[in-house]
Homo-oligomer: 388 residues x 4
């Protein structure tokens, strides 16, 4: 039987990181639709992120994207965050938006470009130290579009070199999270297309390098929870970039396309004790709210993760293992579905009340008037971001 | 046996349309990399397209994108084209790059937005008349990102209404080509996601509406040549937007990812006499040269289509039908592969020489000095396009 | 607001058809695992189907597969069904398990084979008349494995001819349901691979031909509810073969892989009044219980459909349309998710009690002792089926 | 410049292994079509394999499947092979065709089943020693169909245990090849679904364990040549099971669906010197000739691999590297395509003549009368295999 008290405790202690870039404009290659009141600089992004934490109580950290969030004084930015009740989360170097990176960053055939890109990684490692960030979160847009365009193995060697140099420069307490992605913007190869490639580099680097799973970065049909279980077993799951997709890297709100899949992923996490703070699995959102307003979209996303987590926590593991051991296929499935089919919204409302929060974060945010205020105040200016 | 004389004739008479937008900057949502010497306005785009025709001899028409190619005087633009030895091809309305289109254009729940979008279609129909274009080529970015976001059937009704109004306004000699696309920028639904939906609207509209097949717009595993054969059989194949992809709508050069697939598609065309001018099948390129220089990329793409066509023309249909009738699986496959495995580059070199062209278009273009000239001359200015 | 009384009514009146072949052995190409007590002939299959109806109350008809369910006296079989409280549902001709069909049935290049296959369709049309079946449900394993193996268009012509002959022979009250499938057993082409191809044939045949949607027969990423909505709009949705899949035509229990997708499909049905008996949409299961016991697997599948239906019936359409009209993306999504996140099991338990059934069909079946009885009684013999 | 003499040498020395099971009946879950003259036992399979070697000269070894190829005296079987000019290739244990394996073999929750399965692996290791086989080639049909059915991580532990026990028992000179497969027959999880999982086990086992790449076992869109390049770089590419697919694990003839992909894969092999005998990369066919006659299908498959290899050997690596280093995207692509577009059939005909073979293996086999002879002689009997 599930211990409801520990379920409540786990829900209260959940930690989900929001990304600063979710509060800036985003879009597709066809159009970036701008929104009224959108944050214009890192300080405003933190203020928006603080709203998400204010109404959900479980998003105390914010990931940064450099150079989108570049400031003169990072200590000052971290202090601003602290004043908002927030910590700085993972630092995400951006090595894809400059002209030099047309043929890649750390994998570029040109050593000068690789030097520039690696220097940016080193700068970000330093920023991690300055801001108290626990992680350097690396995603490379590097890849190729045509067969023969570059040497696949040589690019791995170049990647390895840059990673090693960065790894050596990690400040104390900072680890590397290495993300993989099947395609886009590389349409023939990506230099880190799958978890296996990421893992090979992490193992080669050392004990402070972990695989980052973005839930939208797989080929159709890939069983993500299997990957998660395998990485937990190998001790190399660094964390998640949560979002959802029907097709490719659609970057929709997590849980929007397939809430059962999200539940199954978190079930594997729960089964391997990955919610424990000691497991050091980072739960980060990474979404593009192209059509929907950004702050409520982040709140809704957090709630989707909370609901999936609550359901996963309700799985009766004793009954499940008994059915599995007995080879009772329908019985084991029933245990899983009993948890999934439970309406956990009342439970979460109670947990929120226990935490001193409004039981309905969406309604509470809507009533707060924050959206109207930023719509009126934030006129003019434009943040670096997807439409940079 | 294949009649080599008629093969040569068919290759000399091939007609491939280039798109004006291929000569402007393009990119992904991550970055639009600008290129030196890129065309800055519709006139320069036509001049670049004329280079492709100059060296290949088979690209006498150019498709326009409105408003990217909007000019004061369309008759003047058409005359400029004629002076370059070109005709204006399909007119492509763009109803996805304005703020009002955030939730769709002709399918938008707001009737004012639908009105604006339909008016643009009508404007484009008029431009088709003014420029002597044979076709209004319609692709709608309309769709939704989340379940429930809008009513799927209501959107079809709205689409139908706009299409009918446009159809009624078609100038003489102009037909509608209705393109479909599985996803992007809509990540839950697209309003015309597949050939079946396009066909339903075309049949409903009348005899001047045809399905447009973009080779990059299908789900993984879709057999495109089967669709092509079926549309030919139904008399509703309007033409192609050629490009290639390994993953999604990657918009790589046609034939780059799977030259055998391109050959099989054209084999179905040839088998159904679709290369005949009377079949009225439009062969149009629609690609994004994000990394590679644009004019040579278009030339190379044309050559890829020519090579696939030459191979398809070499298929020994008599032997093929005999093997098929006999149920000789390996024999029929061998006939197909004999044609595909033939190196048709010498044949195409001869055909080019017969046409008074250099046998090696890529080398001839490189020698021409055109790239260097536009690199030096086209400084300043910026064309409307993907980076608009 | 949703009218809970009409929801209950709709749930009581739901009609789901079970397939006789679900009660026989099934498997993959690697192995057909036999189960104790499995039905050995059509009479026993009906008896098993009656158990599903006994405990769920919503499965009053059973589809047959011919020749797997061939008997001497079909009127007698129908009478046996009636005695069990059942009707005969769709008749499913099988034209794929004889040596002659190696290169296809009605699309075979050999006219003798086509004659044999068409004769079997005619026999099945007759059986439909004899058994009171409302539908001839056609799925063709026809296709090819290699490019060039056969002529794609010629095969369509042959298919059309066989369909027309069959259509002419339909007994009064019998309609044709034409199923499509992307691949398997054809690995290059299938002759009816998609809904568009099926629809073309149905429209050509006449008003008694409808498209059958098997939920496992699409390319990855296909939006099935969009197809369903479009076919409803076109008046050509004949019904469903329900099952679920993570990869290909996995034939798992419906709702097992993606319960949210099943909900979205039924939401489109409900939105277009497709649950009304007058809409004539057939809800049929078509699954292979390779690992799990068959009768409880069918019961569980029925329950999964019921739960998805209950959730779809709970959608607040008024609120949904208001949010859609306002362009409120998150609001519309919230309406959908409110229904989906509801735990409808208590509601369904009440409905079952109202119907005089046990509120927990799985437990009631388990207690009934039926499984033990057939395990003991059905020894020896072997039914025609997947392992034929 | 490419050295044509070394190209010829490489082609003469190519070594492709045929599988005994290609010469038995095969099919889909819908139907196994039997063929006249099909081999009825391991001895006859070897005789058929000898025909493939006789006409191609590059298939001197044959993989066995146990128990399909179980004999009393393996030394005698190996001697029979030697008498036919053949060696015994990889030994393939089959742990999926017995009733006990319904819920898995070495991953089964029941320790008794695991014991039985592991014992079979040990038996096969012994057979490898007895027959002089260089490899134990392991593929596990193990997996689950439903979420919750079994514990993903526990199954990995069980797999690891069985692999370690087998590894310890490897005879001298025998290595383990561990194959992965995305799905089928497991439709929710497979226990070794991807190269990463296989690699984790291989690294854990030791230096005699290598990853086996079956070209049909990936998710749609997977870049196989990238995996191949990465495994070569990691020193863990054991070899290939060659076949081709348009959709899933279709097991069509290699090169039939996408000859350009096959070329790209072999280009990576050539680039990393993987054709050298010292690289110890095994090139094995693994196909199901469901519709086509088996011996000529194997010959054709061998020819397809030879043609792809010849093209890959013709790549001008010097020019390629120069273009890559210069960032010349179109130039590098042109180098690749120059090789691919070459008609290598004349070159291969010459190489065959040099080897004392007929330049046209298909025609020579057809003329040999072997097909007619086995059709007449092999009457009665039935080999264990796909239709077992």
């Amino acid at each position: 039987m599930t211990d409801i008290k520990s379920v409540r405790g786990a829900l209260r202690n959940q930690w989900i990181e929001t990304p600063s870039w979710a509060f800036g404009n985003s879009g597709t290659r066809f159009k970036v639709f701008t929104q009224d009141g959108v944050a214009r600089n890192p300080y405003e992004k933190l203020e928006d992120a603080a709203q998400v934490h204010r109404f959900t109580g479980v998003t105390p950290s914010v990931a940064l994207h450099i150079p989108w969030d570049r400031v003169e004084d990072y200590a000052h930015l971290a202090k601003h965050a602290a004043g908002l009740g927030l910590q700085i989360g993972a630092i995400n170097p951006n090595v894809f938006q400059e002209a030099e990176y047309r043929l890649g960053s750390v994998c570029n055939p040109d050593p000068k470009v690789r030097r520039k890109a690696t220097d940016h990684l080193l700068e970000c490692a330093e920023i991690a130290g300055l801001t108290g960030s626990p992680a350097l979160s690396l995603w490379f847009a590097d890849g190729t579009n045509y067969p023969g365009q570059d040497d696949i193995r040589a690019r791995q060697d170049r990647l390895s070199e840059a990673l090693h140099e960065t790894y050596q420069a990690l400040p104390t307490g900072v680890r590397i999270l290495l993300e993989y992605k099947l395609f886009e913007p590389g349409f023939y190869t990506m230099d880190v297309p799958d978890w296996g490639t990421s893992l090979l580099h992490c193992v080669d680097l050392g004990e402070k390098a972990f695989v980052l799973v973005d839930t939208g970065h797989h080929a159709p049909g890939t069983n993500i929870e299997f990957i998660v279980a395998g990485l937990m077993r190998a001790g190399r799951l660094g964390g998640f970039h949560f979002n959802s997709r029907f097709y490719a890297d659609d970057d929709l709100m997590v849980g929007a396309s397939d809430p059962f899949q999200l539940f199954r992923i978190i079930h594997e996490i729960v089964s391997a004790h990955g919610l424990d703070r000691s497991a050091n699995v980072a739960f980060m959102l990474d979404q593009c709210h192209n059509l929907e307003p950004k702050i409520p979209a982040e709140i809704r996303s957090v709630m989707n993760v909370q609901e999936a987590t609550a359901k996963a926590l309700l799985v009766d593991h004793e009954a499940l293992h008994a059915a599995q051991a007995a080879g009772d296929v329908l019985g084991a499935y029933a245990v899983i579905m009993d948890a999934y089919n439970t309406d956990v919204r009342p439970l979460l409302a109670e947990v929120r009340t226990e935490m001193g929060l409004d039981p309905d974060p969406m309604a509470a945010y809507a009533r707060s008037g924050y959206a109207e205020r930023i719509g009126a105040e934030r006129v003019g200016g434009r943040a670096a971001g997807w439409d940079a």
